[in-house]
């Protein structure tokens, strides 16, 4: 079955620094979604990428979808304490109702 892997599992960042988290699928995806879960909260949708090579930005967050539609990345610039949480990528395979989630990258920020 389809597997989605994320690295790193944990990311400890100094406030103001940049970091990137990566998502890789064992199969080609029809789309990739990113969710954020604050500590004690529930996953909240951030963005969806559909096209090969697509890049989208949300303020300090930049999302990319690979050319082969098998990988994605989330880059955060000038990390703030509000960025704390777990970031999940998730993707649909072709003709698949089900969304396969990665294990997530948990981000902590040192002030």
């Amino acid at each position: 079955g389809q597997q989605v892997m994320q690295i790193p599992q944990y990311q400890h960042v100094q406030e103001g620094e940049d970091f990137t988290t990566y998502c890789n699928s064992s199969t080609t995806l029809s789309n990739i979604q990113w969710y954020k879960q604050r500590p004690g909260g529930h996953p909240v949708f951030l963005i969806q990428l559909v096209k090969s090579g697509e890049v989208k930005k949300q303020k300090r967050l930049t999302f990319q979808f690979g050319e082969a539609k098998k990988n994605s990345s989330l880059h955060i610039t000038a990390t703030q304490t509000t960025d704390v949480g777990t970031y999940f990528c998730a993707g649909h395979g072709s003709n698949d109702y089900k969304l396969s989630f990665g294990a997530g990258t948990t981000v902590t920020v040192r002030a």
Partner: protein, 113 residues
């Protein structure tokens, strides 16, 4: 709109007891999902439904049953709880698969002793 709601928020069960988790959504979504979240394992799909009266197995369906008698409700049942079912359970819904964005409920924390 309340979005997606889940009851209860927290529950403690003894091994062998049964319970039902309720998920309700007021967004007229066709698709509903039950996930469990365990440390280091992300979200794993238990069961899902593509419409009223339909259900299907997800990645980890064993030990769980579901029903979707009304479009707005999706019930998750544990017939005989086991300690391995200690987890946080999230319900989610989406309008239809073409839109694909999932909206999550606040979660139910279940402890099985």
């Amino acid at each position: 709109n309340a979005g997606v709601t889940q009851t209860p928020k927290f529950r403690v069960l003894k091994t062998g007891q049964s319970m039902t988790l309720l998920c309700a959504q007021d967004m007229n979504h066709e698709y509903m999902y039950w996930y469990r979240q365990d440390p280091g394992m992300g979200l794993r799909l238990i069961h899902y439904s593509v419409g009223e009266g339909t259900t299907a197995k997800g990645e980890v369906p064993d030990g769980y049953n579901v029903s979707r008698l009304k479009k707005q409700n999706f019930l998750l049942g544990l017939e005989s709880a086991a300690p391995s079912q200690t987890s946080v359970y999230f319900c989610a819904s989406s309008y239809w698969v073409a839109e694909e964005t999932q909206y999550f409920g606040p979660g139910t924390r279940l402890l099985v002793l």
